[in-house]
Symmetry: C2
DNA sequence: GCCTAAATGGAACTGGAGACCCGTTATGAC
DNA sequence: GTCATAACGGGTCTCCAGTTCCATTTAGGC
């Protein structure tokens, strides 16, 4: 006998979720965050409108779920042998992601959702924590080899690479070219070498 | 005789604009970007709904105007005598602005609007260009005095101070405390001293 | 003070997002 | 295979953001 309160993640339910998340991506790229409504997503996913409203309810909640989905697909980090090389690879990856029309629109929407909704914000924090933790070993190695001062906070260094790229993406509007990625990586290394990220 | 196409910025029109912008601020702080509708703004401003729709039309356009208004109120920069002191003052100002419940909500909304609407994005770029230009002299002085390498791009240094704070504000969700502001200023100075921001 | 047109405001209208009802499908335990 | 019920979906309704229309007010040139 099935207990009350049981969930059914199998078969159809999973198929519906995948179709809806995919449709939400498409709709976001085309219409952006503010032009998104759940009825349209349901149409694109060829799924009952009621289903979308029942399972997600709001645009922000849907994007929070999409974000959880994105966090599960890990992007492997580079191993170039040098700290600057690794951070350049990281900066290049972030830059290409944000500059890509599809992924860029997606990230914009997801960040907007996080700014509007606490659940989405929590999902976004988890997403970045995961990504940053994936790249932290590059910095840890550099600390172990004496290339960076002992006590340097690896997470802070990785964030320092992304920060100027996100600043361009969201605030200043300056171009997100390879030069920008290079600048971000070089500045992070320079500051880290000078001990700016040593934990107190 | 008044030519066709003449504008009337005087008296009532200016009063209406001020009331609407003020009401928009209040509504944003209370309900956030996605919970904002022009009808509500009109009610708060005690202004005809038609007027708001005719003059601004969309939330993004209204926020673009609000941004233009914000850009006009200049915030004077500090003169502490040292580069690190000046940049610390700048970082502290940015931090306090973003961490303040009212101003923070305002900036979030305006950045979201810029991500949704090209006019708002242009207004935001103008806003930051103005702010950055106001603080650039701090860096120029340091270059002139030989504290930073010749050819250092002053605007890039100022942006480097803001970037990690905005990253915390919008993406990572890490706390926006004084330690974060200090870190941002110190890292920018360290990278600048190392020549990371020397123009090629 | 007078006059014209720019600008505002009230009121009625409308389209579609989102809520609700209830019948249908298919999952998973036995 | 059978059954209970979780999950989906079509149809309908409601409400209100956004639009339109027209009367009223007022800025600003003479």
């Amino acid at each position: 006998m099935t207990e009350p309160g049981t969930v059914r993640p199998g078969g159809r339910t999973a198929r519906v979720r995948a179709a809806v998340l995919r449709a939400a991506e498409d709709a976001l790229v085309e219409k952006g965050f503010d032009g998104l409504d759940l009825a349209d997503v349901a149409r694109r996913a060829e799924v009952g409108k009621t289903t979308v409203y029942r399972r997600w309810g709001t645009v922000a909640a849907l994007l929070a779920d999409l974000l959880t989905d994105m966090a599960e697909q890990s992007s492997p980090r580079a191993e170039t042998g040098s700290l600057l090389g690794d951070l350049r690879a990281n900066a290049g990856l972030v830059r290409r992601t944000l500059a890509d029309p599809r992924q860029g629109a997606l990230f914009k929407a997801v960040i907007i959702a996080a700014a509007c909704d606490e659940r989405a914000a929590a999902a976004l924090r988890r997403f970045y924590r995961t990504r940053i933790a994936e790249w932290a070993p590059c910095v840890e190695r550099a600390v172990a080899q004496g290339e960076l001062p002992a006590g340097t906070d690896p997470h802070e260094v990785i964030k320092a690479v992304s920060a100027p790229l996100y600043y361009r993406f969201l605030a200043s509007g300056d171009p997100l070219d390879e030069a920008a990625a290079d600048l971000a990586a070089r500045a992070a290394v320079a500051a880290a070498r000078a001990g700016a990220y040593v934990r107190p």
